[in-house]
Structures are given as C-alpha cells and as structure tokens.
C-alpha cells in the first residue's frame, strides 16, 4: 500500500477543492475530495484511514461543525486531525460559538504559507 499521507478535502466550492488538491498533491499527499459533509461521512464510513480532514465551515446538508462533531464521536475517526477553512471573516467567533473542536484553521483565500503552517501544526510535515 501507498505510504503517502491521506487527506480528505470537504468543500462545496469546487475551486477551493481544486486549489487544496493541487497544493497537497504537489507536496506528495494523496487527496480524496467530498462535495459536502454528507458525502464526507459516506466516504469515511467505508474508509476511515485518513491522516487529515480539511473541511469548509459553511456547507449545505451537513456543515463543517456538524461533520467535525460526528468525526469526534466515532472511534475510527476521532483521532483524525481536522483543519477548518472558511471565507467568513469572523470564523473564530463561529468556532467559539459552536464549540467546534478543530486542530487548525485556514482562512480563504487559500495561501500556501498558511497551508504549510497548519500542516506543520497538526504534524503532517
């Protein structure tokens, strides 16, 4: 099996998914993408072996908050680090209000420096 680190990108915005994908792939990560939280849950249910989940905060059907809560509930997924991402300027407020337990945050627009810093923080570099 491939020893590349696996990252699940969850974002309803295709451009964001793509930017994460290009950056992460070029850094040598295996990237799997989901259009929304429900899709992510489906993927993780069949394959929980991810080293990182990067999720947008505001998505239809299942928000990033709900997704992260779900992930922390299951033994298989509770140890996967989560990095939230959002284009909302008051994301920190939202994180506090929803008692969202995340390990990092990448504000949008996505910049590689920030991505690298957060990856380092969660121990993927």
């Amino acid at each position: 099996m491939d020893d590349r680190k696996r990252v699940l990108i969850v974002d309803d915005d295709s451009r964001s998914r793509r930017i994460f994908e290009i950056n992460l792939t070029s850094m040598g990560y295996e990237v799997v993408m989901a259009n929304n939280g429900e899709e992510a849950v489906e993927i993780l249910a069949g394959d929980p072996y991810f080293d990182l989940v990067i999720t947008d905060v505001a998505m239809p059907y299942l928000t990033g908050f709900e997704l992260s809560k779900k992930l922390k509930e299951y033994t298989e997924t509770k140890d996967i680090p989560i990095i939230a991402t959002s284009a909302f300027h008051d994301w920190h407020k939202a994180i506090e209000e929803h008692e969202l337990i995340v390990d990092g945050f990448i504000p949008k627009p996505i910049e590689r420096d920030t991505l690298l810093r957060e990856l380092k923080k969660v121990g993927l570099i």
């Binding site: 930017i19 950056n23 994180i95 506090e96 810093r117």
Partner: protein, 614 residues
C-alpha cells in the same frame, strides 16, 4: 299736785310759828317744800310756800338718774365700738394691697400703712413726720405742687408719679388722693392710696411692642373664639378685607369669608385647633382688597390662664408669589420632562434604527467579505499554484505576470481585511483566537514576504532576536497582521538605500494587564521568574514623525500629511488596527521617532503559558 300756803308774817318770828306745821306736813302726806316765795311789803312779809308732794319729786329724780346712767352706758359702748372700728380700719389699712398714707394739711406724713412703707423701702416710723415731696422724683414734685392746691379745694386727685425708694430706686406709682376736712369743714389733710404700677407699666410697654409687631406685620393675624367669632385682628387683616375693626370684631368667620369658604376650608380645621392641635394648610382665598391669593394659614390653639382652649390665634401669610414661582417651576419642569421624554423616545427610535443599521451593516460586511474572498480565493489560490509551476510549466514572463496577479490579489485581500476588522472592532466584535506558535518563526516568515520588495528598493532588512525559538500563546493572525503592518509601513516610508530592523526580546515589565479575562487569570498564575512580555520593535531610517503628529498615529484614518497620502498608498487604517490588536492582547504599542532620522515602532504583549481556548 301742789300745796300752796300763803301766810303773812310781821316778823321772823312768824316763821318759827310755822315750823311745827312744816314738821307735820309729812303727816298729811309726802310733800316737800318746793319753794318759798317771799314778797316783802313793808313790815309784814308775805310768804308764799309752795309744797309739792314728796313722792313725785323722788320719782322724778330717780328717772333723771336712770336716764343719766343709760346715757353713760351708751357713751361707753359707742366709745368701745369706735375703738374697735378704728382697730379694724387700721388692720384693713395695713392689709390693703395698696399703700395708704395720711398727710396733714401741709403735706407731712402723719400716718402710713405698712404696705406703703414697704413700697418705698422704709419703716413706717421713718416715714411719719416727713414731707411727702421727699419721696417724689424731681419731676413728680412739680406734679405735687400742681395738684396739692386742687386737694385744698376739695377735689380728689389721681396722678401717676415717680417715687424714690430708700434704696434710690424709682418706682412708678399711681396715686389717688382725697382731701380730709375737720368738723368745721376746714381742710385738714389728705388720704392717699399708692399703687405700684412699675410692673404693669413694664408689661404695658412689652405689650405695646407686641402690639407694634402685630400691627406692623405683613401677616394677617386674628384671634377667633370657640364660637368662630373674631375677638381681635391686626391692621393687615383689616386692609386685606377692606373693613373697619368694628365690622370684623364680634362677627363670625362665616360672615366675613362667606359660609361656603367657612364650611369648606375653615370650620373643620378650627375644630381641630380647638382640640389642641396646631393646624397648618395652604389654600387659595379671595380678598376684597387683594384679589385671589394663595395663603399659608396656621391655627394655634390659645389657652387661657386655666389651660382651657379659649380660641385660636390665626396667622395667615401671603405666599402667592412663592406658589406662582412653584407653579411656574413645576410647569417648566413638566415641559422639560416632556421634552426629555420626547428626546428619549426620539433617541430610542434612533438607537433602534442605529442598531438595525448596525446589524444590517454587520450582515452586509459578513456577506461582502465572503463574497469578496470567494473570487479572491480563486485568483490568489490559482495564480500561486500556476506561478509555482504546479499546474504545468510556465514561461518566465507568464510567471512574472502571475506573480503580479497573486500579489495584487493579496494586496486587495489585505484592504478587505482591514476594512472588515476596523468595522468589526468598532462594534466590539473583535475577539482573540489564541493559539500557540513560535514568534521567532512568525517574524522570519513575515520578513520573507517583504524580502523581494526590500531588494527592489535596496533596503536592508534584518531580524535581531534574543532567542532561537520562542513559543507564545496569542492570536497569531492578529500578531502577524501587526508585524506585517509595521514592516510594510517601515518599507513604505524608508527611502531607497535605507534599512529596516526587526528586533524581539523577552522582558518582565513591559506588558500590561490584559483585557481578556481568561488571559488575565493565566497571567496571574504565571511564575514570577518567567518573562512576562515579549517586546517586538521595527525600526527604519525613513522620514520620521514630527512630535506634534505622534498623538494622531494610532487613530483610525490618519495618515500624516496630505502630500504623504498621495505619495504613499494606504487608507491609514493600519496603525489604528495594530493598536486594537495589541490592546486586545492586553499589550501596548508606541512609536519613537526623530523627524528626518527615522522611526521605531514598538509593541509589547504579555506572554502566556497555556492555550486558552479550544
């Protein structure tokens, strides 16, 4: 019964002849020779003997005797009565509460009562024999001289005189003198009664003062008896009611004030006063001479000597002006209150409007921010990956343009962020998102961002930190923003060929207490040997800041000098935002500068040992 014997004798011898006869007379009855009438006619003498029966004679004598004795007894009784009477009068004389004295016709004291002597401070004996003028003041002596002749004429005289006591004190005496006449109707002296009126006079004078006070007072004063009838009023009262004294005194209150007013305002209150209570009230009254006036009325119960309430002393004060002022004031107050109310309502309305506007603005900002960031995400994200060759090979020219796109995008993002942050902070929305990070690393990466720009302008940028690695707990994004602003500013205002130096050091005293409650708890628990603050400074060799501009530095939308605004880009939000970020951390930021030689911007924030949130 009388027996007359007529005999004629020629000689004396004839008498002798008759003697035995005479002796025998008792035998014929008890007679007595009453008288012998001798008529001598030459020799023979005619004797007429008149006899009266003896019994009737004795009877007569005894009657006379009896009468005489009775008279003597009567006299004795009268004398005793007189004596007793005199004693009684003497006693009365001495017991009288007035001084009594008797003078002779020349005015010398012949007698005086004990009371009179006491009045003047003498013994009775000392006074007797002295002339009355000795006891009179020099003025009163004149009065005496004037009045004494009147007494001689029989007239009773009354006068108030000033008498001199033995101790030289003067006393006022009311003297009533009556002339005395002897049995021959001749003036024999004077009886005088003296009443000491010193106290009375003093009281009268006191009373006069009170009278003066009462009559000259502006207050309407009256005395009303228990039948609601006026007994006394002062002049002010008369004037107010346009009446003469006798038109009020003896008349009832109801008559004067009308029955309605009496029943409505006066009667019940007077009754309370008659019950012993001092009653006070204020009311509008109509006065014939004054019109409608607002009066302060007081009823004082008046007790007589025996302590029984005899009526009410009434004092009425005109307080119309005060009342009118009060009413005016009240009106003004009400108007003011009304206006304040209106204003408050207006303000409340405006506040609600403002709050709604603010909410709308916040929502708008949040949406706008999101809407602006989303396309910027594509611009920045894609230009970065393409320029770095991650999406296939690019030519140098393409790379240069892509870099321009990427940098412009980032520039635009910074402006958007600034605007959002300033708006957010102004409405208290800003909060810290504390994470742990290496400050040394942050400075390094911040400098890296500006390296290219520095090289382009031939500006030397350097980092001088006292440590290799230093993990701190802070809002990394905000601290990075501050450092970026400061470095960006330094580069902006430093001419080509200059230098920018970033320094960092740990200290124990530069920090200030944080505004963040949770953070301050952490601070308090810190061991004292640990550095309490980290101080970061950015120094340049730029145009510097004039002392008068120092104060404006950290205010929003301030960029020094209009010329600079044109020469140097920026909205002037940077430094005020930096200050807000540093303040949020409980730190402080300041600038040191010499115009023309460069500036140094310094900020210090407390270090934290633990992650606070999450």
């Amino acid at each position: 019964m009388m027996i007359i014997i007529i005999s004629i004798f020629f000689a004396e011898a004839g008498i002798m002849l008759l003697l035995p006869f005479f002796h025998a007379l008792p035998l014929i009855g008890e007679v007595i020779l009453d008288s012998v009438i001798l008529i001598a006619v030459m020799a023979p003498m005619l004797y007429i003997f008149v006899f009266r029966p003896l019994r009737s004679r004795i009877h007569e004598v005894s009657r006379i005797n009896k009468d005489l004795n009775a008279e003597i007894d009567e006299h004795k009784l009268a004398e005793e009565a007189l004596k007793r009477s005199e004693e009684r009068y003497r006693l009365l004389f001495d017991l009288l509460p007035y001084g009594g004295e008797a003078l002779d016709r020349e005015g010398f004291v012949v007698d005086c009562s004990i009371k009179n002597a006491e009045l003047l401070g003498y013994d009775r004996a000392e006074m007797i024999g002295k002339k009355i003028t000795e006891f009179l003041s020099s003025e009163s002596k004149l009065v005496f001289q004037e009045k004494f002749p009147l007494l001689r004429q029989g007239r009773t005289v009354q006068a108030v005189v000033s008498m001199v006591r033995k101790d030289k004190r003067f006393i006022d005496v009311e003297r009533t003198a009556r002339p005395l006449f002897d049995s021959e109707e001749k003036f024999s002296g004077v009886l005088a009664l003296n009443v000491d009126i010193t106290e009375r006079k003093k009281m009268e004078e006191e009373l006069k003062k009170y009278e003066h006070i009462v009559s000259s007072s502006d207050e309407h004063m009256s005395f009303i008896d228990r039948n609601y009838v006026y007994q006394a009023v002062n002049d002010t009262y008369l004037k107010a009611h346009n009446k003469k004294r006798d038109e009020i005194i003896g008349h009832s209150v109801a008559d004067l004030l009308t029955k309605e007013v009496f029943e409505e305002f006066v009667k019940k209150r007077l009754d309370r006063c008659f019950g012993g209570e001092t009653v006070n009230y204020e009311e509008w009254f109509n006065f014939p001479a004054l019109g409608r006036r607002y009066m302060d009325v007081e009823y004082y119960p008046f007790r007589d000597i025996k302590g029984i309430i005899a009526g009410a002393a009434v004092v009425v004060r005109d307080i119309t002006e005060r009342k009118e002022m009060e009413l005016e004031l009240k009106k003004a107050n009400e108007e003011l209150e009304e206006r304040v109310k209106e204003r408050t309502t207006e303000l409340e309305k405006k506040t609600i409007q403002a709050e709604a506007a603010n909410r709308a603005k916040s929502e708008f900002l949040a949406n706008m921010s999101h809407e602006l960031r989303t396309p910027l995400n594509a611009i920045i994200g894609f230009s970065e990956v393409i320029k770095d060759g991650m999406a296939g090979p690019v030519t140098d020219e393409q790379k240069e343009y892509l870099k321009d796109i990427w940098e412009s995008g980032k520039h635009l993002l910074r402006h958007i962020n600034n605007v959002i942050e300033v708006s957010g902070i102004d409405y208290g929305m800003a909060k810290l998102a504390i994470t742990e990070f290496d400050i040394s690393d942050l400075i390094k990466s911040s400098l890296a961002v500006f390296t290219e720009r520095a090289i382009k302008h031939n500006i030397k940028i350097s980092q001088e930190t006292e440590f290799e690695e230093c993990m701190i707990f802070a809002d990394m994004v905000k601290i990075q923003n501050v450092i970026h602003h400061l470095i960006g500013n330094a580069l902006k205002f430093t001419p080509d060929g200059g230098s920018v130096r970033v320094q960092a050091r740990l200290t124990r005293d530069e920090g200030r207490e944080t505004k963040d409650e949770k953070a301050s708890i952490v601070l308090a628990s810190e061991a004292s040997d640990r550095p309490s603050s980290i101080v970061i400074s950015v120094a340049d060799t730029g145009i510097g800041i004039a002392p008068e501009d120092m104060g404006k530095l950290f205010q929003p939308f301030q960029q020094l000098e209009q010329t600079l605004t044109k020469r140097y880009e920026g909205a002037g939000l940077g430094l005020s935002l930096c200050k807000n970020f540093v303040d949020l951390h409980g730190g402080r930021i300041w600038a040191e500068s010499e115009a023309g030689k460069g500036s140094r911007f310094v900020f210090a924030i407390p270090t934290r040992r633990e992650k606070i949130n999450g």
